[in-house]
Structures are given as C-alpha cells and as structure tokens.
Symmetry: C3
Subunit: 332 residues, 3 copies
C-alpha cells in the first residue's frame, strides 16, 4: 500500500492505475499515455478527454461527500469514473448532452462504488471492482436511445439468431501478437495494440506477478476463443480478451494468495470468462448495449465469494480493490 496522500492529482492518477488493481501514480501516467496514443492514432481525442474528466469528477465527488479518506487516497473511488468517462464518448457521438452525461455518470459511479462497498463488500466480502462502471455505463448507453440529444454510434441491437458462427481459424503469428496486446488495451476500450504494450509495461512497473497474470490471461483468452470458433473479427479486435485478462489478475494474484491450486482455479475462471463474454454478447445484445467488463465482474464475484474455502489471504485492502471500512462503521 502506497503512502497516503491528499494531493488530488496523485489520487486521480492512482485511480487511473486501479483499473488494473494497481496503486501507482507512475502507472497511471503510463495508462494516460496509452490512451493518448490511441487517441492520436485514431484522431479521436474525446475518449482521452472523457477519461480525464471522469476520474476528476469521480474523485472530487468522493471528496465532497467526505467518503473514506484512505480509499480516496488510494484511487479506489476513481477507477470506475475513468472507465465511465472513457466509455461514453466511445459509444456516443459528441453533443452538449454528452458532457452532462459524463459529469453525472462519473459522479454517480462514485455513489454506486460506495453502494457496492456498503453491501457486496462489507456484507458479503466481495470486491465491487468495475461492477459500478458496468452498471452505470449500461444505464447511460441504453438511455441514449431514448434521448434526441444523444446518439449511439455503431451498436445496434442484435439477436442470438444474427450471430455468424465461423469455423475455428488460426490467425497468422504476427496478428496473434497484436491480439495479445489488444486484449490488454481493450480493458481501457483501446483498439490499439501499441497502447496495450504501454499498459502492460505500466502493470509490470507496479507488480511483476500482476504483469505475468495479465499476460497469461490474454494468452488463455486467445487460445480458448479461437478453439471455440468465436467470430474472428471480434477476436482480432481484442474483445474476447479484456475481461479474461482482468479475471486472471484478480483471481490469480490480487484477491487470492498465489499457489499452484489458485493458479488452476484462476485458469478455470479465465476460461469460463471467455465463455461468459460470448454469453453476455448474446444476452444483452437485444438492448443494444455492449457487455463492457461484465463477464469479468460476474465470474470474479462467483469465484471470489467462496474464497475462505480456497485458503486465507493477508488483509491488503488496497491491492484488494476494496473500499476500506468507513469512519461511521468503526463506531458500529
């Protein structure tokens, strides 16, 4: 756990790094470089600006509401906001209402983070992780269909019967390398494999085991999705890999104490996350919304909740992605 700080910039950069369970401002800087590179490559700067606005508003909201200071300091109230801020401009066209959306959405993500913390985490010992982002962003993207001031770009509702099933085909080696890194970049909704390289470097700087788990998760996702005959275009975009990357990190090294048994357990969880990616694409497609990191969130919740059965883990609240108990709790 890093030194506590009341420096708002450091808090926000740590929040940026918490998307990958890290609490490291340098890692946060690297993640912003990765976003900026992807924006530069695509000419689409709104996502990077939205991300910055999201983490600022989310962190500020936590401070204004006087939420638990150590958690704010660790960036635990920022990472859902940055994802909301990055996701909305990715799926919605620019408009005045989009900015209202980003501000209200990232402020709300902080409340939802506190809600998940007060229930799932404090009552059931399950980290909220990016669940608040998924819930908030789902609601906002779906609502955009109802509002003339917002336009959803390129995610029309589809149905199970629309799915094109391709025979398994293995992409050429060079493309496999790009997929490997895109799987990591897509956690931040970035389609650039170079951004994935920068992000992986940022993880390794903060934690070598976490970096290894991220790489393993990406590899497993690639092998499983290709072997199952998943749509090659989707696989190539890295969209089958980003949730498994998070699952491999979360189950393999962050929330459970690493061991051979835990590695096998994490392998099962990671394979299952690839399946759930395929499932959620189908289940939520009729609503016209993307699955975001929901496959990771669902599988992580399920595989972490019986954790007492898997063996004890030293209490490390920050790397555990868990909001500390709050001032008013201590008396209770």
């Amino acid at each position: 756990m890093a030194e506590p700080t009341s420096n708002f910039l450091i808090q926000s950069l740590r929040g940026t790094s918490q998307v990958f369970f890290m609490e490291n401002a340098i890692t946060g800087v690297l993640f912003f470089i990765a976003m900026a590179y992807a924006s530069y490559a695509s000419g689409m700067w709104l996502t990077t600006i939205g991300a910055a606005l999201g983490v600022i508003v989310a962190t500020l909201t936590a401070r204004l509401l006087d939420f638990d200071a150590p958690s704010v300091s660790s960036g635990l109230f920022g990472f859902n906001g940055i994802l909301v801020g990055a996701a909305l401009p990715t799926f919605l066209a620019a408009s005045p209402q989009l900015w209202v959306y980003i501000v209200v959405g990232s402020a709300t993500s902080t409340i939802v983070t506190a809600a998940f913390s007060a229930t799932l985490t404090h009552k059931w010992d399950i980290p909220g992780s990016t669940g608040p982002f998924v819930l908030t962003a789902w609601l906002l993207v779906a609502a955009a269909y109802s509002f003339g001031g917002l336009q959803v770009t390129g995610h029309p509702p589809s149905f199970a019967s629309d799915y094109v099933q391709d025979a398994a085909s293995v992409p050429p080696p060079l493309e496999l390398v790009e997929i490997f890194f895109r799987n990591i970049g897509q956690v931040y909704l970035l389609g650039s494999w170079i951004s994935g390289v920068i992000i992986l470097a940022g993880i390794f700087i903060a934690s070598i085991p976490a970096g290894i788990a991220a790489a393993a998760g990406s590899l497993i996702a690639m092998v499983v999705s290709i072997a199952m005959g998943a749509d090659p275009v989707t696989v190539r975009q890295g969209l089958y890999g980003f949730s498994p990357v998070l699952t491999a990190m979360a189950v393999g090294v962050i929330f459970l104490k690493p061991s051979l048994m835990v590695s096998i357990y994490a392998l099962l969880a990671t394979v299952m996350t690839v399946f759930v990616q395929g499932a959620l694409d189908v289940i939520i497609a009729p609503a016209g919304i993307p699955s975001f990191t929901a496959p990771y969130v669902l599988i992580m919740y399920l595989f972490i909740s019986p954790k007492r059965l898997i063996g004890p883990h030293p209490h490390t609240p920050v790397s555990n992605h868990i909001i500390h108990s709050h001032g008013t709790d201590k008396a209770g």
Copy 2:
C-alpha cells in the same frame, strides 16, 4: 408514526397512502378520490376496483400469515398490493383470469414484501419500497403473453432501434403545468393531471416537506427530460416524471435527514432517475413489459445503501417505509 390500529379499513387506507411514504388514512382517502376521478374521466373503473381489491387482499394476507402487527397497522404490507391491483387492469384486458391474477398477485406482493424485508432491509439496511410491486407486476404482465385467458393491451415488445429520437422541444406553458401534475398522478398509473393535483394535496396534508420534495422532483424531471430530447409524447403523459418524484421524496426527505448536502445528493439521484427511466424503457422493452417504478427503485437502492456515509438519521421505521423487525427476530 401514527397511532397503531387493528381496524382493517384504516390499515388499508394507510397502505394506500404509503405509496407516497405517508401513513395517513385521510391521505389514503384522497388518493382513492384521485383514482376514482381518473376512472370517471376515462370510463375505466377496473383500475380503481383492482386497486381496492389489491390493498384488501395484500393487507389480509399479512394478517392471516400473522406478519408483524405494527407494520400491518402502518400499511406497510398494503402499498405494493394496491399498485399490483391498479397496474394489472391498466395493462391487461378484463377476463375471469384477470381477477385470479389480481388476487394471487396482491397476495404474493405481501410475501415478496416480507422477503425483501428479511433480506435487503434487515441485512443490508435498504428499504424494499415498491420493489416488490415492480417484480410481481413484471412477472404477471410478462406471463400474460403466454396465457390465452389474458390479453396485454397496448404494450407490444419494442427494441432500441425503434426509438424515435426527437430534437428537444419545449411544450407551451399550460401543458407544462399539466405535465407537472401528471408526473405525480402516474405514480398511481393515472394519466389525469387533476388526479395529480388531488394526490399532491394528499401528500401536503400528511407532510409539507414531502410535498415540496414531490413538487421539486416533478419539476426536475420535466426540465431534464425535455433538455435531453426525450420523446415529447412520453414526456407529456407524465411517464418521465413519476419515478423521479419518488426518488426526490425518498432520497431528499424520507430516508435521509434533510440538509443542503442531502438536497444536492437528491438532485443528482433525481437527474439520474430520469436517465434510468430512458434506459429501462429500452432494456426491458424487448420483453413487452412497462418499467413501472423500477427506475426509482434501482436509484433509491443505490443512493440509500451508502447512507451511513451521508450522516445518521433518527430511526423512524414507518416514514422510513421499512418493515419492523418481526416477532421471531426479537428472540434471535
């Protein structure tokens, strides 16, 4: 908290008033007048009769099952039943099976109220509120598509791609006044703005702060839905306003102790409820069911669960819309 009573009529009328968090038989009478006026205006008496049957069956079920007497006395087992009884004839055509539906549905709403109380409320400190109504009514309306004895009227399944997005347009002032009151009447599924006037009067009779919050919620919903460019027909019917009215009351004055900070918090919650109304319309539309008060329920659950962070609130179980602890709990 009003005087306990074992008078079945008073219990049922209090249940009628609890839809707006009040425990006041006079308010309940006014609410029935509002329903009767809307029935008179539309010539559709089934909704008022269904509502009466619903609150009677729901309250009776709680008494037969020997549920917590003070909660029954406060009408806390009646308000979900009255909403089920009002909602079913609104969305289903008259038939013998409809009456079976209303009786079974409102009896079940009492069980679901007890289930939410035993879990959400007693374990997570979140009031169940109208959640049991939403769940029960969703299931029954959806099931009606499967049954030849029931016919769903005017709510065909639709998809995100069907949504007509209009540019923001501000209705003329007189219509704004009607929308303001319809937003309140629609909590009881009433399209008449005069019914909204009667209901608002009933709320003010029971509690002035609650009345102010209801009015503020209606205003905020009107401004936000128009500014976002929501479908003008839907806005005009008051369908963007009824959930925000409940959110403004619940978060602003009922479940949290009023203050400037809480007002700002409730403002954020109310704006977000408008967005979630737009979202749920899209998300559940493929199933061919209306969203009911689900936007309010979801946002209220999220904004109330971290309430210890917002500051303590004196324990007032009834105005809190919370079922008391049960006889058998006291020993446990």
Copy 3:
C-alpha cells in the same frame, strides 16, 4: 440425514437424488434408470452420458478443492453438475467443444454452488438449490450462439409478440395422466412420462411426504396452466409442470415444517410458479435460452426468505438442500 461416506460412487448417486432434495443412493440409481429409459426411447444417449459426466466432474471438483466433506458426502455439490451435464447435450449438438463445455460447466457449477452457499445461504438463509445450475447453463447455452464449435438446437430467440395464445382446452383423460408424469420427468429434462413414473417411485422410496408434494405440485400445475389458457403443446410436454413440482416439494415439505398453513402457503407459491414459468419464457426468450428451473428458483427464494415468519423448522441441513458451514468458518 444418511450415513457419511467417502465412497465417490455413493456421493455421486446421492448428488443425483438431491435434484429432488433426497439423499439416497438407491433413489439416485432409479433416477439414472429414468434417464437411461428416456435415452433408450429417444435414441439420444448423450444426455445420460452428459449427466453422468456432470455429476462426476462436479463431485470431483468439490473434493479437489477440499470443500466441506459432509456436504460432499450428502451429494450437495453434485446435483447442479448433473443438471448442467444433462442440459447441455439437450440443447447443443454433439461436437468436441461440447465435451469441453460439459467438463468446464460442471466444474464451474461446483464453484457457483459454493458462491451461493457463502452468500445467499450463509448470509441470507436462503438455500441455493438449483440456482447455480440455472445460472451456469444459461451462460453456456447463450455463449454457444457466439461459438462456431457449438450449435444450439431448436431454441431460436422469440419475442412476446410471437406467442400463440390458445383458448383453454382440456386434454383427454389419458393424456392428463401422461402430463402428470411428464411434469415430474422434465425436472431432469426428460420428455418421457414413463421416466416420470420411475422418478416419482424413486422419490417415494426416499420420502413419502416428498412424493405426495411432488404429485400435488404436478396436479396444481396441470390445472392452473390449462385454466389460464397456456399453449397446449407446451403443457403436453410437461414444460409447465416441472418447476411447480419442485416448488411444492421445497415450500410444502422440505424447507418449512409441514402444517395446514404451510400447505396453503405452498399452494400459493406453486400457482405463482406456473405464472412465473409463463413470464420467464417471455422475458428470456429474446436471448434464445430456455428458462430451466428458474421459475422454481425465483419463487422458492422469495417464499423461503421470510421463513422465520412462518414458524421455526428443525435444522436438517441435508434435506434442507443447504451446504453445511465450512471448515474455515468454524474458526471464524
């Protein structure tokens, strides 16, 4: 509660019988005979083989992860796995990936069982029952649409507007007898009424009250579904009856102490389960997946959670379908 055993075969056969809340290896043998008969009659052996593989993998996973030994001995980690193993070949065509699916799915069902146990059961006192099967099988069947290596057979997405509503029509007496038994066989996804006879015999061998409740549940479902005008073809296949059979058993004799009041309570729950069957068919149809035992699971959760209000019940963990507290809990 039967004698503890470390015999893997007995554990698996008890798991087989736990689908109907029994802990009886002989009953498990009869259930396998019922499955084998249905396979013989349809020429479709994959379901029986899948079921055997499912219960083996699920039970083995619990042993490898060192989950609570008495629960493993009672078969409580096996019954969700056997249902996953029976369901996947019922809805997916044979392929190499199907076998991967059955192994990963039944192993996952054991983790999900532990997750539900650690949260729903240990925190909210609600038995997980077949919830883990429903969740796991939903995800896997939905995901199959995304994978070229798997093919969903005969369950295309449909919408509320597609439903054919028939006028109520009463089938001839002989067919009513077949429906009565099919309602029971379909818990194991078996369309053969003779398999239903064998299963009912297996239940009666283990417990006479449980057998009576199962029979009553089947009768109630038949009457209610026909009276509501449900699709006659679906009624004839026993698809309106299998969830109500489980509800009648669970609410009437397994989780609550039998009494006249509890019988009336179970009657309401069973009728409501028929309605929820109709509802879930509509709600999840757009995703192209079957409802499995979700109607039973939802209604049982709702009707059991307020159980302290209905009266105490002697603690009988096994017939309660509840995973015991775990080794590491005892210290906690």
